[in-house]
């Protein structure tokens, strides 16, 4: 058994960086799509909310078709569910189970791992946006506005929510992250202008809640898609501040084990 066969003779080397990142992103996406709880959060809940609230008159969504109000909000929710809630929970448990630790000893650099996570989040979002758009169109949605402003909002929203999600996953225990990420998801779903218009919370409440990243994203998307506005700089500014603060804090405080 112990004769040298040369099978294990050292031949070390890292794979090319793009190949490593692509492999990592593919694996992360597969893990996400295989996870039932994650799919509930990222696909089932946004879809249900869109269908339910568009067809049953539960909340007063103001003038016009309900779906025109709801579709931008649900798109914002979809971004939050993947970039914030899903990423926080998954990363929290990867940290807990030593996955991040083990990968830190692999040839993949840490920034490569983070890039792969971002790619995986974006791939999932594309899938969500396509699905929700098709459903909304089937429900009679008539979107307006330019695609560039929408894309800008989605990207900045993703950056803001990723920073906050990673900050949570990298500092709290996995169970605490699981609980807190779900709670935040629920609170922001109600108080972030996703399905309930912010003016229901009174002028003061509207002001404070309007500074939340979810409100900025849903408000910005609504301004463009429902009202055909140009680039919503105010909302983009709020998202940019959240993105910078969140990502910087995550970079500073993230603990790998």
């Amino acid at each position: 058994m112990t004769t040298a066969s040369g099978t294990y003779a050292p031949r070390p080397g890292a794979a090319p960086l793009p190949r490593m990142i692509a492999a990592q992103a593919a694996l992360e996406t597969r893990m996400l799509l295989r996870n039932g709880e994650q799919l509930l959060l990222t696909v089932v809940i946004p879809t249900l909310l869109l269908v339910l609230f568009s067809s049953v008159d539960i909340v007063d969504t103001g003038k016009g078709k309900a779906v025109d109000f709801l579709a931008p909000g649900v798109l914002a929710l979809a971004v939050m569910s993947t970039a914030f809630t899903g990423q926080a929970i998954a990363t929290g448990f990867e940290r807990r189970y030593g996955v991040l630790k083990r990968l830190a000893a692999s040839p993949l650099p840490r920034w490569g791992l983070m890039t792969a996570k971002t790619v995986s989040v974006l791939v999932t979002e594309v899938f969500q946006v396509v699905l929700l758009t098709v459903i909304a169109l089937a429900l009679g949605w008539s979107p307006h506005g330019g695609p560039v402003a929408v894309l800008l909002l989605l990207v900045l929203g993703t950056a803001a929510f990723s920073g906050l999600g990673l900050l949570m996953a990298g500092t709290l225990k996995a169970e605490a992250t699981l609980a807190a990420a779900n709670l935040v998801f629920l609170l922001l779903l109600v108080g972030g202008g996703v399905v309930v218009p912010l003016d229901r919370f009174g002028p003061a409440g509207q002001h404070v809640l309007g500074l939340l990243p979810i409100s900025a994203l849903s408000d910005g998307l609504r301004a463009v898609l429902q009202h055909g506005a140009g680039t919503p700089w105010g909302d983009l500014g709020i998202l940019a501040v959240w993105a910078v603060v969140g990502l910087a804090a995550a970079g500073r405080f993230f603990r790998w084990e």
Binding site: M1, T2, T3, A4, S5, G6, T7, Y8, A9, P10, R11, P12, G13, A14, A15, P16, R19, M20, A23, Q24, L27, R30, M31, R34, N35, F93, E94, Y97, G98, V99, K101, R102, A104, A105, S106, P107, L108, P109, E257
Partner: protein
């Protein structure tokens, strides 16, 4: 096999809060298999994880393959393989999926199917990691450490919790790695594992290396061998001692149970049996105990259990 050291640790100190985990540790490991042996909490894992680049030394220097594991991590990581004490795999990933993934991060990986076959991981099928048995999880972690064809492999308690067959399979793989020129640093608290596999053993206790050498060297040093026999109680131990060469000790441990400690060789055995014959003693259950690494270990680290 001795050449350039693959691992060189000098005066390493690592503290966690007020607790000093590693306290001025020196260790040099050459090519081949080096076992780091010590009781729980001795500082084995901290030392190895510092070599892997996970922890920054509070003081002292660490060089692995001539590189600083923290500052030159990017250069070092492709050249080493790491098996953590536990975990390291996505809970929803299948064994082959995870192994293939780690292989993809390397330029010239091993044949994944052959490695799966070799370590008996084929039976894991489509089972996700969290549902694999402890032994399967261990073997997967081992496979992940070697799949990138590293020059140096760190194995942190690779056989903890394995059944005897899986343990043998792990030992066989370590021997094959060594034969193919891969250096191995393994931590263990199984003496027999160190004795079976290691070219070199470093015994760590209290955050320091307290003994270092080949298993043979370590066994030769320290206490000597032991000869035991039973006879009728109350024999004249003083007379027996007179018959023995200088430096031996003899004692009646419990009534009728005698122990001779010294350099036990055929001559000594003959001396004891002829003394018995002269005194009309039939020595029952005469036995010679070879000094094992376990004796050395217990002698050096103390016999009381520590948690």
């Amino acid at each position: 096999m001795r050449s350039e050291p693959v691992v060189q640790v000098q005066a390493l100190v690592k503290r966690y809060g007020t607790k000093t985990a590693v306290d001025g540790l020196d260790l040099e490991a050459g090519a081949g298999v080096t076992a780091v042996l010590g009781p729980n909490g001795a500082g084995k894992t901290t030392t190895v994880e510092t070599c892997e680049g996970y922890r920054k030394p509070d003081s002292g220097t660490v060089r692995v393959l001539g590189l600083d594991p923290v500052r030159q991590s990017a250069e070092l990581r492709p050249r080493i393989g790491v098996m953590l004490q536990s975990g390291g795999v996505y809970s929803g990933a299948r064994a082959d999926e995870m192994l293939r993934h780690v292989a993809r991060l390397h330029a010239h990986p091993l044949d994944v199917d052959a490695l799966i076959e070799r370590l008996g991981l084929g039976s894991c099928g489509r089972t996700s990691y969290r549902r694999l048995s402890g032994g399967q999880q261990q073997r997967l972690a081992l496979a992940m450490a070697v799949v990138g064809r590293p020059e140096l492999v760190f194995l942190d308690e690779p056989t903890a919790g394995l059944d005897p067959q899986a343990r043998r399979a792990t030992w066989d793989l370590v021997r094959d790695l060594r034969a193919d020129g891969v250096s191995v640093i393994l931590t263990t608290h199984h003496m027999d594992e160190a004795e079976e596999l290691a070219d070199d053993v470093a015994i760590i206790d209290g955050g320091k290396v307290i003994a270092h050498g080949s298993p043979e060297e370590l066994c030769k040093g320290g206490a000597e061998n032991t000869l035991r026999f039973s006879g009728r109680p109350g024999l004249d131990v003083g007379s027996l001692l007179n018959a023995l060469p200088d430096g031996c000790t003899a004692a009646e441990l419990t009534p009728g149970a005698y122990r001779v400690v010294g350099k036990v060789d055929p001559q000594l055995l003959a001396t004891v049996t002829s003394w018995c014959a002269q005194h009309g003693v039939m020595p029952d259950r005469i036995s010679v105990e070879r000094h094992t690494l376990e004796d050395v270990f217990l002698e050096l680290t103390g016999k009381e259990l520590r948690s």
